[in-house]
Symmetry: C2
């Protein structure tokens, strides 16, 4: 993966080239061995005008021109959806080697433009009916942060906790980010600093929110047979499950997706050694831990977070990369970046943030909103 950050002068193609060429070199696979490419991107249509053939344009400098390519969208879950398809290509026998790429360039000379793009991750017809046509050009403000804030308030009521839980999760994220050379934010922050930072949407403060940023991440998947023939080694994909959300507050898409993934992998939440989850805002961390069954619903994750059990060195390290909060969240890249982190963890090459002896790893990536929760979710389980 590229470093995540604000690279106003770079374009999607430049970011994608760096991640893709790097992934192929790291895997020891030549571009002409790649039989299938799934390319995840969510916002380039609005931000640069590039729709329809995003992969074919972005991958022109990688030696992959001519290969089968599909362009995949699923809002913030675009890159894990691409990974899901790359896995299917190998599992179907269509490909010996598949590439999953996620990319997003969100910084723009018009600083509001990323918000305009993110307003397209909901039912746009309904949004226009509510806000008028101009929402397509001016955006809906901090639409997703308002959604996350409402979720956070419901969580506080259910769990009987205050915002210090979210602030602790955020401080953990910033601590992990300080250990990750590719993170967008690398400054450790205390719980107090998080709580005292600017209020974005009560109870969310600035340091609890994922930033706007740019980046790309790529993964090479091969069949077991191809890996054996070429002497390649790496973690195994034990499950990749995808589900869609439903409208309304009884949206259980994360639980349903995780359930399917556990069943496919033949393990349960207690077996996990490390997790990367979709903390687009910090309240998501305890909530999703409960949805994943790692802690009991209704507040079971609160003591885990407060007692440091979700930090590297704790019982179940969560987002050792820094997560979306500190590593950053170029939306169409995030799902692949989570998996890059887990591959590094399972290979024991995560440096100062290494989770010792990690064998089972889970990634949860979600995106969009249908009114009450994510529109798309992918859960992936890897084994060392």
């Amino acid at each position: 993966m590229t470093p995540f950050g604000k690279f106003l002068e770079r374009n999607v193609r430049s970011l994608v080239t760096e991640a893709t060429v790097g992934a192929l070199a790291d895997a020891g696979v030549a571009p002409d061995a790649v039989d299938f490419v799934a390319f995840g991107n969510a916002a380039a249509g609005v931000l640069t005008g590039q729709e329809m053939i995003r992969a074919q344009v972005a991958l022109a400098d990688t030696g992959l021109a001519g290969a089968p390519m599909v362009n995949v969208e699923n809002a913030c879950a675009s890159a894990s959806s691409a990974f899901h398809l790359a896995w299917m290509a190998v599992a179907s026998g269509q490909a010996d080697v598949a590439l999953a790429v996620g990319a997003e360039k969100m910084t723009h000379t018009d600083k509001n433009r990323a918000n305009v793009a993110l307003a397209r991750a909901v039912d746009v017809e309904a949004l226009v009916a509510e806000h008028g046509e101009e929402v397509l050009e001016v955006g809906a403000g901090a639409l997703f942060m308002d959604i996350y804030a409402a979720t956070a308030r419901r969580y506080m009521e259910r769990a009987g906790c205050g915002p210090e839980v979210f602030a602790t999760a955020a401080a953990n994220a910033h601590f992990h980010g300080s250990l990750n050379p590719k993170a967008q934010y690398r400054t450790p922050r205390s719980v107090e600093q998080v709580l005292e930072s600017r209020m974005i949407s009560d109870p969310l403060t600035l340091l609890m929110c994922s930033p706007i940023g740019d980046g790309s991440a790529a993964l090479v998947l091969t069949s077991g047979e191809f890996a054996a023939r070429h002497g390649l080694a790496g973690p195994k994909v034990r499950a990749t499950a995808m589900r869609s959300g439903t409208s309304g507050e009884d949206n259980t898409v994360v639980e349903r997706t995780a359930h399917a993934a556990y069943e496919a992998a033949g393990i349960g939440p207690a077996d996990l050694d490390v997790i990367e989850l979709h903390d687009a805002a910090s309240p998501a961390l305890p909530l999703i831990l409960e949805e994943l069954g790692v802690a009991e619903a209704g507040g079971g994750a609160v003591p885990l977070v407060m007692d440091g059990e979700t930090r590297v060195g704790g019982r179940i390290p969560v987002n050792p990369s820094g997560g979306l909060i500190a590593k950053g969240h170029p939306v169409g890249a995030t799902g692949c970046a989570q998996l890059v982190e887990l591959v590094d963890q399972l290979r024991g090459r995560a440096g100062d943030r290494q989770v010792q002896g990690a064998r089972w790893a889970l990634a949860e990536n979600a995106g969009g909103d249908l009114g009450g929760g994510p529109a798309a979710c992918v859960v992936t389980i890897l084994e060392a």
Copy 2:
């Protein structure tokens, strides 16, 4: 599939609901049996603002809410790309039943808006460098028709033929369209009428060009095991191949894709009984027949077209549906609509345009342009 046409008052969701509910009913499969949905759409981002979670919004009224869904783009090859992924989902064992849906709503109160959208099916950064930022809002005129016209002029030079070949192909298309109750254009046209219609981009006249239109088409794919268990019958997918184009005029994407499909199906062009191919403009018909190996390169398709061999009743009927020229070309729906036609042909239920005794059918769907040819191509081979 829905009828293709101009339905200004309908939205993508309404078109998709009609096609999807109809496909499930026709297949005899309940919505809750569907394990995977691939949704192809190319232009809604520009035309309606809906990006990122197009499927989850469009399929909300179909009983499929909650199912795994991916949003797929590949310009005019979006729907066949969705079909390719749906096939992979079944072949990988991830799904017993998969649904491929393609949809496009191109009519708009701003009549230029579809052209603005289609200008996104090229390298947009290069387009902006050439035409300025305003190309993103005003479009590049008849960009694709100019591209097709240049291809037509090269073909005439190579084949030593005149525009009457293209006019004959167009007249055949309009004749076939007159036999298809779902075609956008159902009026037979003579070769003379085609040649005398308004010049769009020399040598292309209006009646040689696919129209702007709206529609949706859907297909249900199942494993052989599921079909046997539930007593379902239907044509078999013998091959689905996808390749990307390369920049420059030596782009052989259609040949490469067809070659891969023939190899997977274990047949050759001489075995085909019926073809649906991507005649976004009529000159594409003889050209693609040569790229598919049905006729020799450099003009081998000219006598086929001129002698009526590509009409229903001829040696190798091409585009009995009316093709993109007469059936219509709502871009993100076309690849699935081609396959709907071939399934009807192989099931012997194509009415007045039935190709008698058809056993092997091929669909070729291509999209986008990298400067010299399509950016994406999918070739599918079905057997009765």
